[in-house]
Symmetry: C2
Subunit: 540 residues, 2 copies
Amino acid sequence: MNGLMMDQPLLVKSIVEHAQLIHPDVEVVSVTADNPRHRYTYREAFRRSRQLANVMAGWGLQQGDRVATLGWSDHRHLEAYYAICTSGYVCHTINPRLFLPQLEFIINHAEDQWVFVDRDFLPLAEALAPLCPEVRGWVVMTSADFMPETSLPDVYCYEPLLADASDSFRYPQLDENSACSLCYTSGTTGNPKGVLYSHRSTILHTLVSMLPNVMNLGGHEVVLPIVPMFHVNAWGFPYSSPLAGAKLVLPGSKMGDGRELTGLINSEGVTLSAGVPTVWLALQAHLRASGESVPSLKRILTGGSAPPLAILEEFDRLGVESQVAWGMTEMSPLGTANAPTLLSPEQTTEAASKTRLKAGRQVFGVELKITGDDGEELPWDGEAFGNLKARGPWVCSSYFRLEESSAHAEPGWLDTGDIATIDPDGLMAITDRSKDVIKSGGEWISSIDVENAVLSHPKVAEAAVIGRPHPRWGERPLLIVVRDRGAEELGADEVLDFLRDKVAKWWLPDAVEFVDELPHTATGKIHKVGLRETFAEFEF
Amino acid sequence: MNGLMMDQPLLVKSIVEHAQLIHPDVEVVSVTADNPRHRYTYREAFRRSRQLANVMAGWGLQQGDRVATLGWSDHRHLEAYYAICTSGYVCHTINPRLFLPQLEFIINHAEDQWVFVDRDFLPLAEALAPLCPEVRGWVVMTSADFMPETSLPDVYCYEPLLADASDSFRYPQLDENSACSLCYTSGTTGNPKGVLYSHRSTILHTLVSMLPNVMNLGGHEVVLPIVPMFHVNAWGFPYSSPLAGAKLVLPGSKMGDGRELTGLINSEGVTLSAGVPTVWLALQAHLRASGESVPSLKRILTGGSAPPLAILEEFDRLGVESQVAWGMTEMSPLGTANAPTLLSPEQTTEAASKTRLKAGRQVFGVELKITGDDGEELPWDGEAFGNLKARGPWVCSSYFRLEESSAHAEPGWLDTGDIATIDPDGLMAITDRSKDVIKSGGEWISSIDVENAVLSHPKVAEAAVIGRPHPRWGERPLLIVVRDRGAEELGADEVLDFLRDKVAKWWLPDAVEFVDELPHTATGKIHKVGLRETFAEFEF
């Protein structure tokens, strides 16, 4: 017997309708190539997004067709997000940092019909156009005054397109399971794979992300997501901020620039920010060097990779609360959050530091488990490491156009590809990518724990640990270090001595190599496959 | 084209699973007839709820069957809530304050198979049993030691039933639209009507209620819902508190007792409470009389009826933030919340007082509109009053077993039966029940506004305004006042003089009558139908 409640689907257009009625005057501030501080309100954002929807209505698209974006985080990208998905098309956000062959693959695999492109990425678009002949048009997200010369075929300028369009648009009534957006995840091997979000998954993910135990996002916040809109929907902030009525500050291309970020935070009164550790390193380096402060900033969320403790401690000194969260493209992205209230006051400083570095507890809606190589579930004792698996209404069931071949190895559970522990309090900690794990004498060594310990050395800029074959133990850890500038004297013995009381004795690397830089993936992570190739000939 | 996200239904069992894993050790404290301070954890609550589910599995019920409760807010009632709905049955919470013929009607109309009953309501159950022959069994929610003699047929005692039951239970996989709970709403005329909530509506309502802009419910709170579990699921706290990991304090039968409430707040460290104005009057009267304080209490939510400003101002003096919310049984109940952050600092004190008394802004998921008698939508200008209509995924589409006859007059919109204004900021204010509205010379007078103005007079204990026929204007307002104790000298002229600068001149009542008490409905509201009957012969 069913309940007798209204059959109202969960749709992204509800965010538009809510924000327009309830907090239309809240600001959206963007850094764009043509205006370093573009400023308007949600009312205007959604008015223009309806104009864009009317423009697209003339393109002859079918519901479910993919329309791509290749752009930084700014107001036009936000308008495109909403215009595309509320029209019933799929907003395919492309990561412009990928390599050309990957971009070519992605656009053709997704069969993108149109592409919105930032001026900064025009050279990329010009290179792609001949490789992607099915694209019917390219829209440069700029105004007529700033429109550059381009060799792109079928090219339009964003502002003149909108200028004549009506801002009255009737949103089609969609099924809540219909596709809403698409994001490809680039593994270190093989072709990128597309994760296809639905309206339902987007709304549920948005609501849960806003809960007090998670991101605690209310209308009083000024939010600066320093995570690109092409990276898992900027962790959902383009949806959650208008739903909450939080002022949204979009940093354009300035995401790695500590000076620009400090200026944005201070001039806009940013209270909450979110990003990956690299971003915080840049911000903190600027604050140290300039002596500036960020008094409005109350909280930051850090994700993408495990942060070094030093970043969190520097935020402590700045009076900024920091919170670790974890997720992945396949999870919309939110999987866990380490709410600050979880730190019990009885913990020692050292225990508290370990606790706050963990990825956190599964958020409501997500279920996690860890399994051994035999597929059996492992205990939540904080000791057992296993393959981390997840399920929930915003977790991907299979990849786009790979539905059969990408079905999960364990039906109903996404294998995250991470190795993790979960402690009795439910706090999950990633110890490794499963393909990076080091198996020594039949036991697993966590490369991430060793790397984090090394990173706390003041003369170390970056570090990676990889497994290399060992005649006796099968594999042993090799530590690869980038010295901090001016620390040329740092040697292997000093590093190993430093580690001795920080990791288990048998985790201590058998050798240390120094390099000038480490290879990185397009999303800024250390490219361990590349490192293993570089050190393929290494012998202990 | 559908998204490729996991098909995970929204089910109440997810709250159980989440709470058990993520905050199993958080406490639930109850006032019961057999223990004034029962104390255990969510782990134990859900363990016992599985035992109860196993007991019920032996009762031969079908999915969708109704199992009723007739009880105060306590831990056993909480166990019953979860055991019933996670088993796939429907938890029918009955309001024991209803009159016997209404109770008889409700139980027979719902075809309740079993009834869980509190010791306090045994006399009621004994009177009901012969009138409700289809009920197959009665379970008295107490322990063997406290089990009274009773004439009830097929009667069981709760604790011995559970004692031998296994606590391992496999939750059936349900459709998210399946019915979860049932609550009858008693109008002032006609039979009570059943609102049938689904698992989906319950989860969505729970998530939205917890948002920072709404109830802002996180794991650090200690929650005391002073609203009964038989009254629209205690505004959702039995679901939201375990989801958040908030400590839950259930006050049993002590909901109107200021001394007991103060004791509970102080001994349990309550930070957040929720109730109707009558409850706050009792609490504040006790605090004034005793000189006690409630230092842990940070926030209260008030709903059920418009609060007098004096209550909110007394909370200001106590250092407790107060927030108005509005809802109804047909809306699960949450419709609007007046978030404190909405008060703009530029408002004058008087304007701010008016703003904070409003019902608030529609929460995400609920859409409101006001319409004139012609059904046309009225503007959100804060001036126009109209029939308030609502829709959303937790708004009822029709009443149980009245599906056809109770379809909404305007398809897709619930007519709330209230008259309201909505201002340009989206703040809704109820001005009247539509059946209580007074129409003078073709214009509407808000009885609620006049009543609230009268209530700010220090010698007035309670007041009601009703419309009475008038030869010239059609109807004019008659004010009926209960004097405060010791204020026998208060006369009509003093009241009317007091009102003169507080309401529009033509809203001023044409007469004032003094009475010793006003009639109330089972849910504590002023029974205006009764008043109109009492004053049927009144002539201006």
